[in-house]
Symmetry: C2
Subunit: 155 residues, 2 copies
DNA sequence: TAGAGAGTTGGAGTGCACTCCAAGCAAGCG
DNA sequence: CGCTTGCTTGGAGTGCACTCCAACTCTCTA
């Protein structure tokens, strides 16, 4: 199931995949993944997956009759999003707030949009910052490269 | 003094400003700045400036006869570079290695260039990563915006 | 010359995001 | 059955980059 299957007007409450389309590299769609399969797939450690659950960053995960976790494709979609937000440096506390709002349902949609928009602005700012540092790096590396060239030519 | 004043073939051993030209916002060039002036200028706390010195990230800073620090324009140049590397997420340990190499002199020039080049690659990778996350963010924000629009139009 | 304010030190404390540990339960295999 | 491998928990530990503290000295202005 992808986001494109939604009835119009619906915003899904739980998994909210990042983008439509099949996810590559996902263990064939059994929809009952063990923690180590999910660790492998996401690159997070099993420790971290349990910790995410403890702090409320992960919606409640299904269990077997003996209490072992079984993750669904929805859970993997959610972890995709979390992983991306994490890559862009969103603090875990903010992601937890977002997860809480998702759990609270429709009436938090505007606040969720604000949170994501603010974060997008932040990411844009950081890209610009990185670009300008890249210029400085280029400048300094050029100086070193020149020095090396002169040295190797014995000038 | 800027990097443009060097005799050809020389790579300066200590301050290595990020780029040529006058630095704006620098307390008028008395070349003897107190720690609080430097804190103000760099945005770092005085605590952090002392800590940088302790861990070897800052070359030895001049002192008054009573032991108070007096930073020079060269020190400020160095802090400019450190600040930029920090903004791009270079670990402090790597910056300390770089500072050590600068202190060791000419024969570390090639290694310094390698370190900076590797970091530049890293920054480029992170920019690409941020860009791709930006796409995901746009996609999700669009969904929220659509939902909000539909809700406000009562459709 | 008195007092405020800024500087000094080593070492301890903080916040974040994991990361690991010990002790125990459960499933599958020869 | 015993063994290995994987899962469970709460709580403790780690690494990074600061950040603050206590107890002091120094500088500057009135």
């Amino acid at each position: 199931m992808t986001v494109l299957d939604h009835a119009p007007g619906e915003v899904r409450d739980r998994a909210e995949p990042c983008r439509p389309g099949p996810k590559p590299g996902r263990p064939q769609g059994r929809d009952r993944y063990t923690i180590s399969e999910v660790a492998e797939y996401t690159g997070l450690s099993a420790h971290t997956l349990r910790w995410y659950e403890r702090i409320g960053l992960m919606p409640h995960v299904d269990r077997t009759h003996t209490g072992q976790r079984r993750y669904t494709d929805r859970d993997l979609d959610w972890l995709d999003l979390v992983g991306r937000l994490r890559l862009t440096g969103m603090p875990v506390a903010d992601m937890v707030r977002y997860a809480q709002m998702v759990r609270e349902g429709e009436h938090t949609v505007a606040a969720r949009e604000r949170l994501l928009s603010a974060h997008r602005d932040d990411v844009r700012r950081r890209i610009a910052e990185l670009r300008s540092t890249l210029d400085v790096l280029d400048y300094k590396i050029d100086i070193y490269a020149d020095a090396r060239r002169r040295a190797s030519e014995g000038v």
